[in-house]
Amino acid sequence: MEPLRQLVLVFQPAMEAEPLIEQLRQHFIVEEQGRQGDIETFYDTFDWRLYRKQLLCVGVGRSRSLLSFDGTKHGMIEDLGPGLKFWWEMTPSEVRETLREIIDVRALLPMAALETDKRHYRLLNDDEKTVVRLTIRADVPVGDGAPDQLGEVMTINELRGYQEAFDSVHRLCLAYGLTPLDSDSWLAQRAFSGSPRTPLDYGDKFRVELARDSDVGTAIVQICGHLLREIEFNRQGVYDDVDTEFLHDFRIAIRRTRSLLSLLKKQLPIREGSYFRSEFKWLGGVTGKLRDIDVYLLQKEAYLAMLPSRLRPGLDGFFADLEQHRRHELKLLRRHLSSKRYRSLLSDWRTFLVADDSPLFGESSRESCRELADRTIRKRFRAFLRKGEAITDDGPDSDMHNLRIQGKKLRYLLEFFRSLYDEKFLEQFVKQLKKIQDNLGDFNDLCVQEEMLGDRLDGLGGSGRGVLLQAAALGGLLTVQAKKRGALRDQFAATYAAFSSSQNRELLASLIGSDQRPEVRAGRQ
């Protein structure tokens, strides 16, 4: 059946709604159905996962509703507990399932709020049958620096079978002077108009737009500036322990920064380069333990699923200890994040990137970025292949680990400089690279986990049923993990052969020979 129409019209400043209602009364019986004042809080994850799916999560009191950008309601959960952040804290429902798929482990944070005043009307025909529904809403954005008031908005909803009435109300409203709003996204635009955050200001793919003729210094400033912003963006979320992704993103930004510092070692002044390399290494180091624990805790369900049900209680103590350990590590990390060392590092780094007399703007950084990128990518690719060829079926696991590091370096390079190349070639190559990286990454994760589980098993002492159960559970996990690791190792040869194929070598050659997409170039002229 035809979808029902909804129109959204906005009143001009200083235009009153009452005279319009009076005009409508000449054609319909107008019944005011009630007035409702609420604070509507709009929730999203820090990286706008709902917004990317064109969804709004609106909280009023203890309820959460899921709406489209145009205000269409998809579902609602009521009677939620206070301070709710995660999907798993909600009552089972369709809304929860939708959120689970989209937000995953991220917390829902209040991004914006509107103080709303809604008046609902029914327009009836002579049989006193409702033929059109109207809502007039006035919104005041909550927050400092927000506009005082947004123009009153009228939504007109069609009822099936009463098209003429809908059309006639529409005509009357236009004649009165109301103007149409973008009916697909009016609520989203309204919601965030007073928010300190701008939708999509964080997240998604790493992308820095470099100018085609950019020199190395400028490119480093742009890329590292972007990464610095990500570090600063995530710092508070890590400190407040909002969700585990803050730390994850924080660490990725640090790792990328470190990678760039080491890849472009020769292009950086010796003294500064070595200072920042060692300080960012320190920062990466002090965040590592907490992330490791997070990974285990996030895998809790997967771990439990690996074991037969009678062995599962053996992991209770294991996870309880991890939780405790996590609290301790978080405390330590908070101390580091508040330390003078951290503050100095960030402020020195910022100065290095922006100061007029920064060595980045000196003679040594004038080389064309594109030439450097071509050279370095080619070099990294060769290094990856060299290490890859050397891996044998019975070689040490550390070879796999080293290759993984090489893969990461190559991947980061491609990401840093992606805007200089043809998008299509780049995407294709990254897709191929990702396949082998996944194999290496999974293998490494299993090695690390096995080591940790093994250490835990070695450290078990005492006697009693609890210890026995835990040992049995850990033994069970180790067995499953070792099997998986073996399978990944077996898959490696084929995965590597596919990656190092002549097609992929040619693909890289085409990539390096390629140019930016024409529209990007045109945009800069």
Partner: protein
Amino acid sequence: MKIVAVYSSKGGVGKTATAVNLAYVASRSGQRVLLCDLDPQGAASFYYRIKPKKSFNRDRLLQGRFEHYIRATDFDGLDLLPAHFSFRNLDLALRDEKQAKKRRVLGKLLQPLAKDYDYAILDCPPNLTFLSETIVTAADCVITPVIPTTLSLLALEQLIKLLKKIDCDRRKVISFFSMVERRKTMHQQIMEKYGGYPIFLQTVIPFMAEIEKMGLSRQPVGAGGQQSPAHRAYELLWQEIRQKKLVT
């Protein structure tokens, strides 16, 4: 989409009140419901204050082009296909079709709406004709209100006979006692005698002034207040029908 026909060949047994109120109760529980007023008298349409569009008639219905004639009621999730005076000779229009094909007509007509609604609830005219065969063939469940009187029981018997004749599964018929007046001895006796038969639901709908007054209020009993005893009775009736699994 499940098709629920409220049917009895006898008039005045509370068919329309049942269809109107069950449709309302079902939509209140979040189901998308289309109430089809097949009775040319148009009482269900009247209760929901809906008149058909001028261009609507029997032929439009049979041509399957009736989507545009469906109208929203005042209640979320509940739409209505209004009755038309020309429905009085739906039978005549079906006359020329072959017997077996004719029986499938209604099911086919409703098929395109299957993704739009969870339930089509049919308020059927009181007769025993080709149309009745079409209705019981299309329905997943036939609900027959029975006033605890001999004539009303006879109508139920006739329905069972009809199903047998057209080789239709008799288990799709569900019946309940309607317009029950406990102080009437005959009502009591008949309910005692037949109430235990599996075809009868436990829920009974008493004779209530509130239901009678729907003609004045022109809305389902629940719309006047969720605490209304009549509304509660229809809620229980719907729950019990759903437990029969014919419509879930």
